[in-house]
Amino acid sequence: MSATVTVLAACPPGLRPVPLLVEPELGHYPEFARFFADRFGLDDDPFRPPAVVAVDGRPYELTFLGRSGRPFPSGLELAALVVDLEPLDVEQADRDLYDLVCWILDGVGPPWSAEAFARTADIFRILARPRD
């Protein structure tokens, strides 16, 4: 991972969420849901505002989803936070998403890792993967 990912305490003002992806089902590998619950204090306050992380200073929003009969969070929406009505830089967002996925995988821990993700991305020649 080449970027720095930090968790922000609150969403900076004047930003517009632009949806990037929806993960409807965290439950098939529940350690992912546990990571998000622990990292963002969801057990204490499941109704808190969306979490905000920054990738090299660029903010992204994580909105956690619940589903009847499933542990919370059961899914998440991931959005870029863009100033006012400015257009999204899609290529930058895809590169940032790559780093964000690395941060999540390393946070969840073995067998998941940014290194395994990089090898997988290489197999599929994912253009957003940063070159070493």
Partner: protein, 311 residues
Amino acid sequence: MSLRTIADLGPDIAARYPYRSRFVGVNGWRMHYVDEGPPEATPVLLLHGNPTWGYLWRDTVPPLLAAGYRVIVPDQIGLGLSERPHIASAHSLDNHAANLVALVDALDLDAAVLVCHDWGGPTGLAALLSRPGRFAAVAVMSTWAWVEPSADFHHRVVPWRTMHAPVVGPYLLGRQAAMPGRGVYLSTVDRERYEATGRAAYEAVTATADERRLTWQWPRWIPLSLPTDLAADRFRRLEAGVAGLRLPATVIWGREDDVFSIDAVAPRWHDLWPHAEGVHPVTGRHFLQEDSGAEIGELLVDFAERTLGSR
């Protein structure tokens, strides 16, 4: 979503898959299919898996038509030219199998030959068990119908489990389109031919992240002996039901298959079906139709004529 047909995909694709697009409602979704050959002839139902569509069978269809069979090739809901439900729960294994039940009921198929590849196996065989009277013979290739193990490939962290981990799936296969182009490319033998005649047809129907949804959702239903497996119960019932089938059966496999290997996975079919023919090896990896589609068609004609009689 607007209605698209094979002709809308351009002259190259339409020339290689020169059939009339038809549509049928299944459980409230719009399913695309082709239906060629004499209506009164023995029907052969060709089922694709992930991330392909009916086009996968383009070289298999002509030998069957030349032999006088009726050939039906649906696009599974969520792929090809069929409707793409946005609701995740629409893509359960049970719902996909039920869509095929609805199809064979709608077409009123009788004494059909079921031909299954990849997810066409679990879905098609579940449909067959629901409607046993509609089928007379079955052929399987690079597929499975049991709980465990699916294949060693599916237990590896790189690439399989990582590809389908939460968030990674919708990123890698949704936004970054890992499967339809590169994924199929890696699972063919003659990759130049695939680039020339296959890739564009798969990418044409998976052009947006939205259209690629099933490519990352479907694999999550493969059981891996984890407590959180989504479809272990369905696979247990499927395995028990399939083991009791004694329809004429044949097993066709790609020699170079590195997803469901010919040495490890293909023989399991003979454990379930000691009476089955094969294994008939052909040139091919997981998407063996890309390399040996016409040969597979000839094998199916030979199998059907010997077991069901000529049509």
